[in-house]
Symmetry: C2
């Protein structure tokens, strides 16, 4: 199917984009169960997302559901994977090979989603020159050189929070186009740089707070 | 200061709660630089959050800023830490000691934010009975027994997506009150159970998509 110019310029909103992996996970499960078709109503029931929302989200993909039958499971899985880019390989550098950085290097799950961590960087002489799960760790001064060597477009930031901005600046200077920031620091970048913040500690804060409310509710009731 | 009943029942909205760790990270940096006071205007400039939004978020804490001077940095840091619960220890079980589960066990950063992973669970006989960074790995059938033994309230789910719901059910059955779900599956629970979804792969999807848009923009311009 030809991609219309309209399609290219239609930018999918971030909340929709974040829901697509849920659909993918569900549809892959259905495929494993040899299910042939799935309707947005069915996805809606399973994932507690509004059916009209699902249809709208999926309208960004090159797929049409059939009335009363729904989407072909195999086609939908393929279109979701293509759209999400999980099947293409994206080279990434990681700065900060401490506890969290080391953990991410060891998470082979990321590779299943197209993220290929090719090199680590640190300032600690005890780590520089070593390899972790086959990934070499370089001195941070080699950032620009290695960025080019590995054609990496993504920089992952797992340094202590006070170095987050400076490392972001160095990664951009080295030619990286997207930053995956694991620190709770709000880094500042120009509009042409993509930033995703994954603050797993913020999720902890929400969990602790809601837990304490649940408890006080139980005590009060 | 006495906590008024109003205070107990004012539930802080999740977006506000998610912003508090940003303020904490910034305020801790200021403290290290021996800065004494910080205004919401200053935080606003630094973190690109509306100043009135910041004042509103901080109104959930037991702290009052002084006109024209702002918040005392040391007090603000302490109140944020208390409120966020990062200084209290929360015992957690992790189900699925594969690549991601193993990585989380190794991330000692989580302990700095009050998360104490006390035991891992798996179905793989090669892993069961071993320890990882001092954390024992048990057979999943021991979930209820060990949950009680460790008084764990939090369950972390790092299993393949098709087992997410069943593991969630088992954790709740074992007495866990909060679930930290790392799978892209939308698990279903009753209202008294706290769920936080950390789908790091969804962040990847957003990053890839925005990267490809940036590229097509560059090509087109």
């Amino acid at each position: 199917m030809a991609i219309t110019p309209d399609h290219i310029h239609d930018i999918i909103p971030e909340p929709a984009l974040r829901r697509l992996p849920w659909y993918l996970a569900y549809v892959s499960m259905l495929k494993d169960q040899n299910v042939e078709y799935v309707s947005s109503t069915q996805i809606s029931r399973e994932l507690s997302v509004d059916a009209s929302q699902i249809a709208k989200d999926l309208s960004f993909l090159n797929i049409k559901g059939k009335t009363r039958i729904g989407y072909n499971v195999i086609t939908l899985e393929k279109e979701l994977q293509d759209f999400l880019g999980f099947h293409r390989s994206h080279n990434a550098l990681i700065v900060g090979v401490g506890s969290l950085g080391g953990a991410l290097i060891q998470d082979s799950g990321l590779a299943n989603y197209g993220l290929n961590i090719v090199a680590g960087f640190d300032t600690n002489p005890d780590i520089i020159g070593r390899t972790l799960c086959g990934i070499p760790v370089f001195d941070i001064h080699e950032l620009a050189l290695r960025r080019k060597q590995f054609s990496a477009e993504i920089g992952i930031i797992t340094v202590p929070v006070e170095h987050a901005q400076s490392v972001a600046d160095q990664l951009i200077e080295a030619g990286v186009k997207a930053l995956w920031n694991y620190t709770p620091y709000r880094i500042k970048v120009t509009d042409d740089i993509v930033v995703q913040n994954t603050s797993i500690y913020a999720h902890l804060a929400v969990m602790y707070n809601r837990l304490s409310i649940t408890k006080s509710r139980t005590v009060n009731s």
